[in-house]
């Protein structure tokens, strides 16, 4: 057991070391960690950042990631919100560059409509089935 935990520690150290060696030494972007002065605008920016994918870490949103690139993306979001752009405009700007992949909020379009339609169809089918069975018994 002790051997196992030592092994785990060694592996995690090795992995973190490998990740650190490929990081830059620049300070974070001005608005990577600094909130906007206006709390309403900051709330708007935060909500948007939670639905944008960190392109380096992929499973995380840019709000959750400490990757330098995620910091630069938060800087973009906050400065653009501050400049008066709407969250949708900023999301569209990123989708134009990286495709739908960058957004965690699925859009309703030609490729994604089954995602929204299928649950409704399944619930309708289940209700229909239930109705028939209960009706038969009653």
């Amino acid at each position: 057991m002790r051997l196992l935990s030592a092994l785990c520690l060694a592996i995690s150290l090795l992995l973190s070391g490998a990740a650190l060696s490929a990081q830059d030494s620049m300070p974070p972007a001005p608005y990577a960690y600094r909130q906007l002065d206006d709390p309403d605008k900051e709330a708007e920016a935060k909500a948007l950042m939670e639905t944008l994918r960190c392109l380096k870490c992929q499973g995380q949103s840019i709000a959750d990631s400490d990757a330098p690139m995620a910091g630069d993306m938060r800087h973009q979001v906050r400065t653009r919100i501050e400049a008066g752009e709407s969250p949708d405009e900023i999301r569209d700007w990123l989708v134009e560059r990286y495709g739908d992949y960058v957004s965690f909020a699925p859009r309703f379009d030609g490729a994604t409509w089954p995602l929204f339609a299928l649950p409704v169809v399944i619930v309708a089918l289940a209700l229909g089935l239930l109705w028939r069975r209960l009706g038969r018994r009653g």
Binding site: S25, A29, P68, M69, D72, H75, Y98, G99
Partner: protein, 178 residues
Amino acid sequence: MTRGGWKFWLPLALFAFFVALVGTQLLSPAQREVESAMIGKPLPQFVLAAASPDRPGVAAVDLKDGKPRLLNIWASWCIPCAAEAPQLEALQKQGVDIVGVAIRDRPEDVAAFLARYGNPYSRIGADNLSEVQLGIGSSGVPETFIVDGKGVIRYQHIGDIRPEHVPMLLEKLREAGA
């Protein structure tokens, strides 16, 4: 409905189908590369200050002079960038113009990298906030874009350029009008 009827096995078959679907998706490696959606679109407007004292900075207008070229997104802290340096040098020796964009890099680190691995760049811009990188849909270093003479992005190569990629990039440059 008899016990042997196909409807009896339907739920099990559906269950097996979903197990197989999840299993194959788990076992197949995930697509790790994020492709730029900017291929075929013009470069966004940008002006970057010089990242190196002996090369000028980069602006979008510099890439609209009628000559196709490589736009190399790199950084001195990026290990594969050192691995692709000989291939960039080979391309430069064949007459390819290479413009560099250094991501989040300090001037002294850029200078040390270029002294060690060579300088194939005609211009190097300092992209300290990853603005140009985000503007052209690049998600990592190194990445190499082919930009035609009108400043339109024609091709994106993700990852380091290996020796076998050099002829392919020269062909793509020809297609872009070199």
